[in-house]
Symmetry: D2
Subunit: 142 residues, 4 copies
């Protein structure tokens, strides 16, 4: 059974585009990061500020990410971003994003992140930790 | 009679915040730029891509802007951005923004922009031009 | 006697420009923030990570900032950013920036910041605090 | 024989980091984009503005990119970015980036881009085109 999927609708902004008039591709990764958070916020019913505090985490830093750009988008274009978790492992998980423009796949993204906490021995450091079971359960309930 | 006001509701994103955990202030100017565009899009019933093409303009570059930061906001905070044109002049205009958090004024911004077109003699250059009268009329109708 | 001035030379990047082909103005505030930090790093002989830790501070959040844009810059343009502290007060200070392109003033920025620490009673909050005297002294020595 | 490699040294900025205190990963893609341009600028002895105009191109939009994040970096960290073209094909090419911190591989990036021009039939569209032979030759000469 697939995990919860979240959908974000947004308009491409002028400031996200480059001199070619299309989205400067690092902005897609900003959209993906916001989309992963929107998915977690929906699954957990809390903002990221709330759930990182509730679980004593610092977030879910990126380990590996990839994106393919199929159709360019420009300012004023309305897009849909579909985001879902493809797999939860012990302390890492995979997310998939699909950006659709006029119903067609424009950008495809995948990412592997780890659930992370501050290292108690050295709070300036971050380390991965098992994803709380009840968090995963909230994605299954979808 | 005041000009049209537009309101944007948004959640502060993780990626907009800095190591202090609060919004990195240049991001507020990105929000303001998007808010000015949202106001124009609402007034004109077209996206910025559509109205810049319809009027042969390249946009409304910034001439002078100021912002005061009263209450910090952090990721997960929901804010309201109120945007209105304070004054239209021949080829320049003033915009005012107010960002509210929990109903309180958190950030206040003002900006002076010019209506700009490509210079026909040298398309690599941009120059100001009178704001089309029917554009101003659409802000009055609000 | 004026305080220490720092100069940063940089090339405008493609990703800092918008569909009009010129710098998207919020990027100038990113440049200013980096320039203020470069000035502090030079004055104190430490990186921002080092001096915020050394002084138990979280940084110098922005209170009020303004910029005037006189000459547009586009990707590939080489600019010079001159940054200096105009005034130190008890817990706040004013910074001035001048961006020069081909020796001419292209952008002028001013900012008021506060020296900030975490609130011991509530570490999720930030509060201003007097600027350490020896920090100010390092700007005078220049 | 490998193609020209370019090296960029830079300090991680406060504004590039997130509330966890480490680089917000989309900023690495901004660094990669600037590094690819720095490589082209060095190979061709022109700025991107100059060489896109000289060759009638709009740039080299991204088709596919991936990055792996091995060691986190935070504001104040000095990193080295090594960038090289792995392969030139007819109208696309592959770039490799390695970000080193304290001599250790911190981030690894790869990208496939296309050489692009405006579509003469519809200037609002961008299309790929064979990479000029003399551009490739400049990367071999290194």
């Amino acid at each position: 059974m697939p995990y919860l999927t979240n959908i974000v609708a947004r308009r491409i902004q002028w400031g996200e585009c480059d001199p070619a008039g299309i989205v400067f591709y690092p902005r897609y990764f900003e959209m993906f990061d916001a989309s992963t958070t929107a998915l977690f916020e929906r699954a957990l019913g809390m903002t990221k500020y709330q759930f990182t505090n509730a679980y004593g985490a610092v977030g879910y830093p990126m380990v590996d990410t990839r994106a393919r750009f199929l159709i360019p988008a420009r300012f004023g274009d309305d897009v849909i971003i579909e985001t879902t978790v493809a797999e939860f492992r012990r302390s890492s998980f995979d997310v998939r994003h699909r950006i659709l423009k006029d119903g067609k796949l424009a950008v495809e993204g995948s990412e592997t992140r780890v659930w992370a906490v501050r290292d108690k021995a050295d709070p300036s450091r971050i380390k991965s930790q098992p994803i709380p079971r009840d968090i995963i359960a909230r994605f299954e309930a979808g």
